[in-house]
């Protein structure tokens, strides 16, 4: 009996040791230096092709990115392959853990802090040839710990969408398009009927935050060094939203049986909604019969305000050929490439030099691009996504909730993330 036990132990021990050494081999050199991400020389091992990992919205986007990357391969002579992730976060995490990540990939503002802090990303922003062409607020969105990490791919802002037929039906004209909070409240009231609400929004920070911005508030300061969640400005923004909700002229999309603002708007459950330019795709595909126009969100007590959302082209610190990756990203963010992407699948170019062309190509959507001047970013620190999702959970019951209490708990949660 004893003999068998000791054999068991030896066997198990060998298995463990074997596996540990196997996994140690798997980690490559074993001397992963965390300083690899901070500037210095770029790696340029051109023996391996580049892999590009994207989270695609559909065939149009996949085809456009494929074509752009193929064109780059043609001119540079380097190979590159695009693959579409089914779960981008999970596939990125897997790549980083194995130290064999995709060289170039889509990266959201939410994920930036996590990957930047663990050294997975190459902070290449300052080496971009076209760095000065990006909107400063977008550069800010991808700046973590004072370093500009990655080139903004494109961006979206929130604006007001108005159903023109329902607008006319309620006896409103172009002169009535709201420019102040008071006017927004009054047109919402005019548009509200027994079966329809004036304004429908998603019950989350990513929509209601626009009201906070109009009141001059935001969750954190520009540099992400200080939490300003429970400021009187934010309170004013939330209380305004609360009033609209309680007056019955604004509803959360979920309350009226829609998945998001765009669905409520498309099904004409609401006459207006606050969404970003991604809504245009849904309107064309799912609700082609709804006529609408895009207006800038009304100004609050502190002027105009909106939120912007963006993704960037991340480059992995572990990429063997960072120089080629950088070259590819410069190409993908060039004026021509971005205007092509915009024509193919609708995003707004992240560079100032493409703005005029975009305006003349999309005259109906100009309001979205105008938002770039005053749009605020969502917080970029590690753990902020959790805090925002907690805030979202509380905002769901904003109607009956205490706005100050909601903001206080968010302040406390953000403070806990700061050193």
């Amino acid at each position: 009996m004893q003999r068998r036990n000791s054999r068991w132990l030896i066997g198990a021990g060998l298995t463990v040791v074997g596996a540990l050494s196997l996994s140690a081999c798997g980690s490559g050199s074993g001397f992963s230096s965390d300083s690899a991400n901070t500037g210095g020389e770029l790696t340029s091992d051109s023996t391996q092709g580049l892999s590009v990992l994207i989270g695609s919205s559909g065939d149009a986007e996949t085809a456009a990115v494929n074509a752009a990357v193929a064109a780059w391969s043609e001119t540079s002579g380097a190979e590159a392959e695009v693959s579409v992730a089914s779960d981008l976060n999970q596939q990125l995490a897997q790549g980083f853990a194995a130290q064999r990540p995709a060289d170039v990939f889509y990266l959201s503002t939410d994920a930036l802090a996590g990957y930047a802090s663990n050294g997975s990303l190459l902070a290449y922003g300052d080496e971009l040839a076209n760095k000065d062409d990006f909107y400063p607020s977008l550069i800010n969105a991808f700046t973590y710990d004072g370093e500009f990490y990655c080139a903004p791919k494109d961006f979206s802002t929130l604006q007001l969408l108005i159903n023109t037929d329902l607008w006319a039906e309620a006896g409103l004209t172009d002169a009535d398009i709201p420019t102040t909070w008071e006017e927004l409240a009054s047109v919402s009231t005019a548009l509200t009927t027994d079966t329809r609400v004036g304004l429908a929004v998603g019950g989350e920070y990513a929509r209601l935050g626009a009201f906070m911005a109009q009141a001059g508030g935001s969750l954190m300061n520009e540099e992400n060094t200080e939490a300003t969640a429970n400021s009187p400005e934010n309170l004013a923004g939330l209380e305004y939203a609360q009033t609209l909700l309680n007056d019955g002229v604004m509803s959360y999309a979920a309350e009226i049986g829609a998945g998001w603002g765009g669905e409520a708007f498309g099904k004409e459950l609401s006459a207006m909604t606050i969404e970003g330019n991604w809504i245009t795709g849904a309107m064309t595909n799912d609700f082609p019969d709804v006529n609408y126009t895009v207006a800038e969100l009304p100004a609050g007590p502190e002027g105009k305000g909106t939120l912007q959302f963006t993704n960037c082209w991340g480059i992995a610190a572990d990429s063997p050929n960072q120089a080629a990756a950088l070259d590819l990203v410069e190409q993908l963010t060039s004026t021509d490439a971005q205007l092509t992407f915009s024509a193919e699948f609708g995003p707004m170019p992240s560079i100032i030099s493409a703005a005029d062309d975009w305006r003349s190509a999309n005259p109906a959507l100009v309001a979205f691009l105008d938002g770039a001047e005053y749009a605020r970013d969502v917080p970029v620190i590690q753990g902020a996504a959790d805090v925002v999702s907690d805030l979202n959970a509380q905002l769901e019951s904003l109607k009956t909730g205490d706005a100050q209490q909601i903001l206080d708990s968010t302040q406390q949660n953000l403070d806990a993330l700061l050193p």
Binding site: T15, N392, A393
Partner: protein, 362 residues
């Protein structure tokens, strides 16, 4: 360390058996080791380390941080603790309702379709088992449609004059709603004042949210069929003579079920309860495809929270720690109900009628 001579190798005809035994089992041991034991041990290490998702968790730059990841969850006082408390609360209510209901329902169905006189038994068995073989993702999508604000369930409810809730968007707790119907909308200070794992006792007692209730119904709907099958198998194994003897003794149907059939099903009941408990504590797919923890975090479960902590927040240590706390919870409940269902000697009081009346006690 003096070893006696008993380590002398056995020789003869059975000598090589042990070696060939190991040889035959080696492929499985290696497979299980590679894909089960090692990953679990790795995860255990990660839960005690500050690994942040880059490179191997065994590389030199990863440090041992002791119980830091665990204390952040059960005593950190921050958002992590609050989320973990909320997830445990949600899942505890889910388990509390799903496990008993699915066990009772599956036993009930098994007894029904096991009756000899039932026509078309095969049809009913297939029908009840059908949800179990359908992918949980497909059923979740179906559920989202059925339980949408203007969905089929609310249409049905409206026929009987009930204004149905906005199921998957309603974060209010069912128990709180019932209390509110009696005019109690704020808890007593004793409950709201003190808290456990970052959420107040009053919140612990909120009950499952309306959204979670829809998931509870779904779990009962999908798993009852599987467990019904286990019960049918067990019922068919029971010998008829015991029941016949009970009939001869004058036991009616109700008594026969509770006093004769059910006690004989004890091993199956244990299996069903254990599998049910494990499945219910590990609920993930429905949340991942359905609500992602919303509305108001009321469908957040530890399994989903673990995924979220690791993959979206790069807090790998914390994600692994959640998984191991969940593991401990499941083991605890399994051991507890094993003890609960253990065969015990019949108590003297119960035994008395069967004992020969010797002595003066009559």
């Amino acid at each position: 360390m003096s070893t006696p001579v008993r380590t002398q190798r056995r020789s003869g005809i059975r000598g090589g058996e042990s070696a060939s035994g190991w040889l035959f089992t080696a492929p499985m041991i290696i497979l299980l080791g590679m894909f089960l034991v090692i990953p679990v041990l790795m995860a255990l290490w990660v839960s005690f380390s500050d690994w942040n998702g880059r490179g191997s968790p065994f590389s030199g730059s990863v440090a041992f941080v002791g119980l830091d990841n665990y204390t952040a969850l059960v005593g950190g006082g921050g958002l992590a603790e609050q989320d973990f408390g909320t997830a445990l609360r949600n899942n505890a209510w889910y388990v509390l309702l799903v496990v008993p209901i699915q066990t009772m329902l599956s036993l009930f169905l098994a007894v029904l379709v096991n009756r000899q006189i039932l026509r078309g038994r095969g049809f009913f068995r297939t029908a009840f088992y059908f949800p179990s073989v359908t992918s949980s993702v497909a059923i979740t999508v179906l559920w989202l449609f059925l339980f949408s604000a203007s969905g089929a369930v609310n249409k049905l409810l409206s026929f009987i004059g009930v204004n149905g809730p906005n199921w998957f968007n309603d974060p209010s707790g069912v128990l709180h709603n019932i209390l509110a119907a009696f005019g109690i909308s704020t808890g007593p200070a004793a409950l709201t004042g003190s808290s456990f794992l970052g959420i107040s006792w009053w919140e612990w007692l909120a009950g499952p949210s309306v959204a979670m209730s829809a998931f509870i119904l779904m779990a009962v709907f999908t798993t009852s069929g599987t467990f019904m099958l286990l019960f049918i198998a067990a019922l068919q194994n029971l010998s008829g003579d015991v029941v016949e003897a009970a009939i001869m003794d004058g036991a009616n149907g109700w008594q026969r079920f509770w006093r004769v059939t059910l006690p004989q099903l004890r091993p199956t009941l244990f299996t069903v309860l254990t599998l049910g408990l494990i499945g219910a504590w590990q609920v993930f797919d429905q949340i991942y495809t359905g609500t992602q923890g919303g509305p108001g975090k009321t469908t957040l479960t530890p399994a989903y929270l673990s995924y979220q902590a690791a993959f979206t927040n790069q807090a790998w240590g914390q994600g692994a720690a959640i998984a191991f706390i969940l593991f401990v919870i499941i083991v605890f409940f399994t051991v507890f109900q094993r003890w609960l269902l253990a065969e015990r000697a019949v108590s003297a009081r119960r035994m008395r009628p069967y004992l020969p009346t010797s002595g003066g006690h009559t």
